[in-house]
Amino acid sequence: MKVERLAPKALATPSELQTEGRTGGSPPHLLFAVLQVENFALHALIRSDPALAARPVAVIAGEGRKAEVTEVSPEAAGVMPGLAVTLAMARCPGIILRTRDPAAEVEAHRLLLAAAFTLSPRVEFTGVGCCTVDLQGVDPVRTEAQMRRSLAELARAGLAARIGAGETPLLAAYAARKAEPVLIVTDAREFLRPLPLAFAAPLPGHADILRNWGLKTLGDLTALSKAEVGLRLGAEGVSLWERAAGESARVLRLVEPVKTFVAEWIYEPPVESIEPLFFRLRRFAERLALELRGAGFAAEKLGLTLRLEDETDYRREFCLPEPGVDVDLWLRVLHAHLETVRTAARVAGVRLGATPTRPAQKQDGLFDTGLRDPAAFWENLARLAALVGDDRVGTPLPADTHEPDAFTLERPPETVPAPASQPVHPPRGHALRRFRPPWPARVLCVDERPVGLESESAGGTVRTARGPWRGCGNWWKPGGWAVEIWQVELAEGGIYQLARTAEGWRVEGMLD
């Protein structure tokens, strides 16, 4: 059988073909990516409160004398995590101290997940400020460009994230810690060699032992024999060695992509002016736009609800001029309306929802592609090719021969052509479903007709047999073929197609 390789359509622009942020010069082999936000609680706080922007801020934990700084903004000079609150205030008199804000963190996590879903639908929420993406099958060039775009959008939305990519989730996580802001590891050994041992998180006792051995980097540890390390440090030592080599593989616990595109916030205390309301709506719009884009949707309507202090709601729905995910357009529509709104009570909460629809990308007429979303179509074909093999995806075209099971796989047409006229002789008989490879069989014949069948998965007495149909081809050159086809119905039920060749009998498939 001859098959044609289906080449993924190149969609990257030359500017996307940059190699910055890669270890090694070979094309990246993307399997996993990790999106990580350092000082996540602090970033979540700052992006939810405009008063904290560009100010010295610290997140604190604990009470009374035990309260200490856990995360700190770069503006707070002289303050570092672990410092007592009193000392932090002494070192930086203008510092703003806050505890963690769970609502702000939930909102920031949704934003981070939305960015991850723009890379792949297979995303794991790994931990605070961190998610892992299964990139198997993606187009590496396009995905690398998308990573940079997603990071830029996250930065605009007040979340400074980094992305690392590699062959295992662990390697991607290491890369994310070193990324500025994107790092794709193509040579794992070279990348891991200079990293400090702390990256592999050794137990405190083991860290001391390794220091005494003079080991400082992951490369130092993996230069030793894994078995020897295991002999001295036990099972945890083996595990540590594997982590140092970036070998630890695991199954991702995937989260479902969002289906409803809604964001909600409760103000404490309620607000009276448009500014805090509009700030929150901008944050919502940025997140919803990313979520819609990740799911392949656009918004056709926006629904705004203001929850008022007197426990009544003010609702308004906006039909957008055209479906899209243009945040600025949404905000212009919302702003123009909110400027004219006067409510009887203060606003205690706000809710913004987007009604999803498929992007209207189909062009009729001269440039009709027949595809609703051509970019998704070709990208997904490339992804499928990476999943199952690039010679195993396409539109089948039977070969112009009587040789059994001869076909090629072609690139699918952009437009589904108009159907041909009805055939004069409509197809007859049952449809064949093949067994690939065919099952070897023993067939009992009487008067040259099959009367019994034995094979690995089907067998019994033959109730009815049709045939034979004989065919041959290419007999004048190597690779010639000759076959005798029978169709048999077994007494127990089931119609099978048998083929007799020079090698013997085979069950080719089931007539179904």
Binding site: P121, Q136, G137, E256, P257, K259, T260, A295, G296, P356, R358, R372, D373, A376, F377, N380, L384, L387, V388, R392, V393, T395, P396, L397, P398, D405, A406, L409, P413, V416, P417, P419, A420, P423, P426, P427, R428, G429, H430, A431, L432, R433, R434, F435, R436, A458, R463, T464, A465, R466, Q487, V488, E489, G493, G494, I495, G509, M510, L511, D512
Partner: protein, 218 residues
């Protein structure tokens, strides 16, 4: 007056607000070209939903259904994707013109099959995605985590594609529609037109009924 209807209406309203994709009525059906199935489903395979077609007996007509579906969707110029877990599709069994709108994914493993279906269902360019897991051993199918099927159902909801899952046994958990082909066909009918053979298929509805969509719509 009893408060039960009011509470029921409030509950339905709450559920439809919490799970809008469940409340959404399925889009128009995609005709399969097999009268018994189209009638059972109220017009064809429902868009945005999974339909399981169980081939409970050998030669019970599962492949005939797929062939008729190809011919029916070809006439409407709708794209069809086939994720073929056991690599059993035989292109020569279908008229050449009825293959022009088909994307055939010849999978190697069940995990890759589910991953490929996940990608295709979200694509938005296909009217029907067919997932054929016949040919995989029942034991291997039962071992596959149910989460994969739930994920596929969630992916299908809200999308435009109808998803047909062809199985050798009742497999997909919580599937809205499950149809079973129990009767083996006879070789004596092999001379009949394929359309006539499709018309003779006996389909049993095991799960779902004519009122199911209304019920789902709350």
């Amino acid at each position: 007056m009893s408060l039960a209807p009011i509470k029921l209406a409030a509950l339905r309203s709450l559920l439809s607000a919490r799970f809008p994709e469940k409340a959404r009525k399925p889009g128009s059906g995609v005709g399969t070209g097999v009268a018994a199935i189209d009638e059972a489903l109220g017009g064809g395979l429902p868009a945005g939903r999974l339909t399981e077609l169980v081939s409970a007996a050998p030669s019970s007509g599962g492949q005939t259904v797929f062939t008729r579906l190809l011919i029916s969707t070809r006439a409407a110029r709708q794209r069809v994707a086939l994720v073929d877990a056991a690599d059993g599709f035989a292109p020569e069994a279908v008229p050449v013109d009825a293959l022009r709108h088909l994307v055939w994914v010849r999978s190697r493993t069940l995990a890759a099959t589910l991953a490929a279906a996940d990608v295709l269902v979200r694509d938005g360019n296909y009217a029907v995605v067919v997932l054929d897991v016949r040919g995989i051993s029942e034991r291997a199918l039962r071992r596959a985590p149910a989460a994969g099927w739930y994920r596929l159902q969630r992916a299908a909801e809200g999308g435009a594609a109808a998803v047909l899952v062809q199985t050798p046994c009742e497999l997909v958990p919580a599937v809205p529609w499950r149809l079973v082909l129990r009767a083996s066909q006879a070789l004596a009918d092999a001379g009949l037109p394929a359309e006539v053979l499709a018309g003779r298929l006996e389909v049993e509805i095991v799960r779902g009924h004519a009122g199911a969509t209304e019920e789902e719509a709350g």
